[in-house]
């Protein structure tokens, strides 16, 4: 104990210096933060500044503009529903169960995220092709995915679902194991625990993951283009329309669609944030 006292007494006491240093540090952090956010705002403003609202409304009312917006909304919504259905089980298993090959699955989950969407699209194209047994089987069953909205959903799902799964897995893994143990000692079945403890406690993560997946599906371009092409009114999503119009000289329409896309994504993110609820301290 003597040594502790000695060390304590020897420690310099200059609160003024420390405070100044802290202040300078805070200032530096604030400046860098400001820099980052101005960058985001600048990029956004470039889009808003270039659009005329009358043009945007006219374009949304036009058949091509309306079709691509509707298609994007429909397919991305389907992707979110699919993701919820398959994503929760995957996140649950990956977060709570120990088994062989888990590291492999983890890596597999990263693959769609690091793979260029164009390559993903190419893979899907090969998979669905006549030459592939799976493609042939689907053909026999009458399931047509190439150049159809179904194909768009598949491509977007493949690219976007891992974001949800990863986020939800993290928030399930953050639940203290004691809570799950307590639930089990209170006669709760695994399903009951999932419903009343796991789900409510990963709500924030699930909302964040859903927003990311939805936005990612809406913004998907490469894989979609490969699998579904760009048939106006049939497989032309918002992002594909933005590209096609810009390349063919219709920059105004391109900007209008882009603005709708950004606005929608932003609203989505915002609404889901409001829904997320509080983060519990464990």
């Amino acid at each position: 104990m003597e040594t502790l006292t000695a060390a304590y007494e020897k420690a310099p006491r200059r609160p003024g210096v420390l405070r100044d240093r802290l202040l300078r540090f805070d200032l530096l952090m604030a400046l860098l933060t400001a820099l980052f956010f101005s960058l985001i705002l600048l990029v956004l403003l470039s889009l808003v500044g270039a659009a005329s609202w009358r043009e945007v409304i006219a374009h949304v009312g036009s058949s091509r503009g309306f079709d691509c917006i509707l298609l994007s909304l429909k397919t991305s919504f389907a992707v979110v529903v699919l993701t919820l259905l398959l994503g929760f089980p995957a996140a649950y298993i990956l977060a709570l169960k120990q088994f062989r090959g888990k590291a492999f699955l983890d890596t597999l989950l990263d693959l769609p995220i690091i793979m260029p969407p164009l390559v993903t699209g190419l893979c899907l194209l090969l998979l669905l092709n006549q030459a592939n047994p799976v493609g042939r089987l689907l053909q026999e069953w009458g399931v047509r995915l190439l150049f159809t909205p179904g194909g768009i959903i598949l491509a977007q799902f493949f690219v976007a679902a891992p974001f949800f799964i990863k986020t939800v897995r993290e928030s399930i893994a953050a639940i203290p194991s004691n809570l799950l143990a307590a639930s089990a000692t209170l006669n709760a079945s695994d399903f009951y625990t999932f419903r009343r403890v796991v789900l409510p406690l990963c709500r924030k993560g699930a909302c964040a993951g859903m927003a990311m997946t939805w936005a990612r599906a809406l913004g998907e371009f490469g894989a979609t283009a490969m699998v579904a092409g760009s048939i106006p009114g049939r497989t032309e999503t918002m992002t594909i329309a933005i590209y096609m119009e810009a390349m063919s000289g219709g920059l105004g329409n391109s900007i209008s669609t882009a603005l709708v896309l950004v606005l929608f994504s932003f609203t989505l993110l915002f609404v889901l944030k409001l829904q997320a609820g509080r983060q519990y301290e464990y």
Binding site: A181, A182, T185
Partner: protein
């Protein structure tokens, strides 16, 4: 119901915690377990409740080996050392949790939860979330929650450690009464020797990975 551990071994990582641990709590007994910090008292309770699997040896409840049964099927009540309250549920809902999970009828759930909240003097705090409760209040919710399902075995991991003398004595009395009236088998971990001796009919000392000795408190008094 009696509890018995036979030649149990348990290792976390590389450090063996128990090598050959045998231990028995008789049916209807209030048994106190004391020992230095980090010796594995909580782990021992976890082995009985089915939260940990023994590396070797058997865990017996009422003479039957339960090694392969999950926590749900062992019907063992557990008060966790760190309470493990559900942070998103009110004190009342925490207490009601086990009853609801067991499919008890609504009105009974309400009655019983209130009864046990009352027992630990928390009826005024019933709608508060755990984060709005003091340490001692949380501890009492954890106790009420474990009691509410009325298990025939209760494992208590320092259930009264954060309470002031008055309420601690009151709850010690309640636990003893409960035990006497219902014949529930209780295993109580405590740091407090006085508590061990006043509550326990027998006291076991855990040290160096085994039960060093077990004494009957009748002999002490």
């Amino acid at each position: 119901m009696s509890i018995e551990l036979k030649h149990v071994a348990k290792t976390f990582g590389t450090r063996p915690l128990f090598h050959d641990l045998s231990f028995k709590v008789e049916q209807g007994e209030l048994h106190a377990l004391v020992g230095p910090s980090g010796e594995g008292k909580s782990t021992l309770l976890g082995l009985i409740a089915g939260l940990h699997a023994p590396d070797a040896g058997d865990v017996l409840i009422n003479g039957e080996c339960v090694n392969r049964l999950g926590p749900q099927r062992r019907k063992v009540g557990y008060v966790f050392q760190d309470y493990a309250l559900f942070p998103h549920l009110s004190a009342f809902e925490n207490v009601a949790y086990g009853l609801r999970a067991s499919g008890v009828e609504r009105r009974r759930v309400h009655e019983k939860s209130l009864h046990y909240l009352n027992l630990v003097n928390l009826n005024r705090e019933r709608d508060k979330l755990p984060q709005e409760l003091s340490g001692g209040q949380k501890q009492r919710v954890a106790l009420a929650r474990a009691l509410a399902t009325e298990p025939s075995i209760l494992l208590l991991d320092e259930p009264l450690s954060h309470l002031d003398a008055e309420i601690r004595e009151q709850l010690q009395f309640e636990l003893k009464e409960l035990q006497r009236k219902t014949g529930v088998t209780m295993l109580l971990v405590t740091h407090n020797m006085t508590e061990a001796v006043t509550l326990g009919r027998r006291v076991s000392f855990l040290r160096h990975g085994r039960i060093e000795r077990t004494v009957s408190t009748n002999a002490l008094v």
